[in-house]
Amino acid sequence: MSMIVPFGPQHPVLPEPLQLRLEIVDETVVSALPVIGYVHRGLERLAEQKDFQQDTYLIEHICGICSFMHSTTYCTGIEEIMNIEIPERAKYLRVAWSEMHRIHSHLLALGLLADAFGFESLFYQIWRTREHIMDAMEYTTGGRVMLSAACVGGVRKDINEEQKQFVLEKLALIEAEFKEEAHVLLDDYTVKARTVGVGVLDAKTAYERGAVGPTARASGLKMDHRMTGYFAYDKLDFEPVVENDCDAYARTKVRIREVFQSIDLIRQALSALPDTPLKTAFKGNPNGEAAVRAEQPRGEVIYYLKGNGTDKLARCRVRTPTFANVAPMLHMLNGCSLANVGVIVLSVDPCISCTER
């Protein structure tokens, strides 16, 4: 006989309030039903009531992890509507801060994953490494998480020579420390026992259910929106990280490799910073519509923006990556054992406050 076990919204492994109603038979999950809506804040509606430049700071508060990426994607959308070409330096700086956010997000996710399978010292160790990148962000912009560095037409902050050296030093520290931690995540016998073969999502199902980001790339799908070369990604040397094992271990491996890739991308971006102004001046209000995409740490975010010629937007719609990853996650949960639910959920790295806005 089956019974329903509620998993969350308050659960030790969940960083954010998501409830999964798990139908279990003995110890096996036979189906899972997500219940969301615990942190809905009505930000899309609020964005229609503020002016489009104020929205940059509002949109940034959609997520506390990839905040800068939300605001830059939003700005890209407005720039597309208003035909604003942003200066080269702004493009490279947007890449640098986006990649810093990716490192911080992946380290956070990997730390939480370590916590989910009960390896607390590894969790603290990874989060300790993460402090380096938080310092780099704070020194370059003045804020740890809410960088407020993006604006329509470019960026508001610059990275000077001294700050660049500081960031490079911090990157070297992260690289050295994270190499050891990655070794534990990838090679430790007990860690592997918890992640290898758990939460399998084959490539076909991943594609059909619309998986994005590391979840899709760990299932062998070569999908990374950065390949389209927005901002300055077309001028930087990078190849999407793809793994073919389809399980929680592969997703961990994709994130680990992406941390090193981001370190490399920041180094490339900072060494090639062109000497141009930071933003392009513009006049008027957005009139028209645009749909823009960007690759966030959890996958592809889509912004649909519609302006009506006034300073307030007619519509601001966000499709966040976690929303796309919920359906693949439910597939992974079918047939898993109850003890693995936490590991599977965190291997997808859900961000609920993004999803519910």
């Binding site: 104020q54 700071y57 160790q125 310092d135 809410m146 050891e180 534990v184 430790d188």
Partner: protein, 100 residues
């Protein structure tokens, strides 16, 4: 011997002591440019134009001209974006130490 990797880190941590500071007895000085709190050091420079209040995304600032000229800042509504600092034509706003 995969376990030796973590062992090395653990031994290192044991010998090196804590990495955290004994806050509040020991503090890390803020980075230059840290966005702590909005301050108006010299109110005589302000012309009460209200531009800062119009730019503020979270309605943390109110500027009134009648009956009395007043510039008011609600610290707990402020999201420290810095739009007001950037927009002020008289440059009378600045970021200050968060403890003030």
């Amino acid at each position: 011997m995969k376990i030796v990797v973590m062992l090395k880190t653990l031994l290192f941590n044991l010998l090196k002591g804590p990495v955290t500071r004994k806050y509040p007895y020991e503090e890390r000085p803020p980075f230059p440019g840290e966005r702590g709190v909005i301050l108006m050091p010299d109110e005589s420079k302000c012309i009460y134009c209200g531009i800062c209040a119009r730019k503020c995304p979270s309605n943390a600032l109110t500027v009134t001209r009648t009956p009395e000229k007043e510039w008011k800042y609600e610290r707990f509504r402020c999201i420290l974006c810095g739009a007001c600092v950037e927009a002020c034509p008289k440059k009378c706003l600045e970021f200050g130490d968060r403890k003030k």
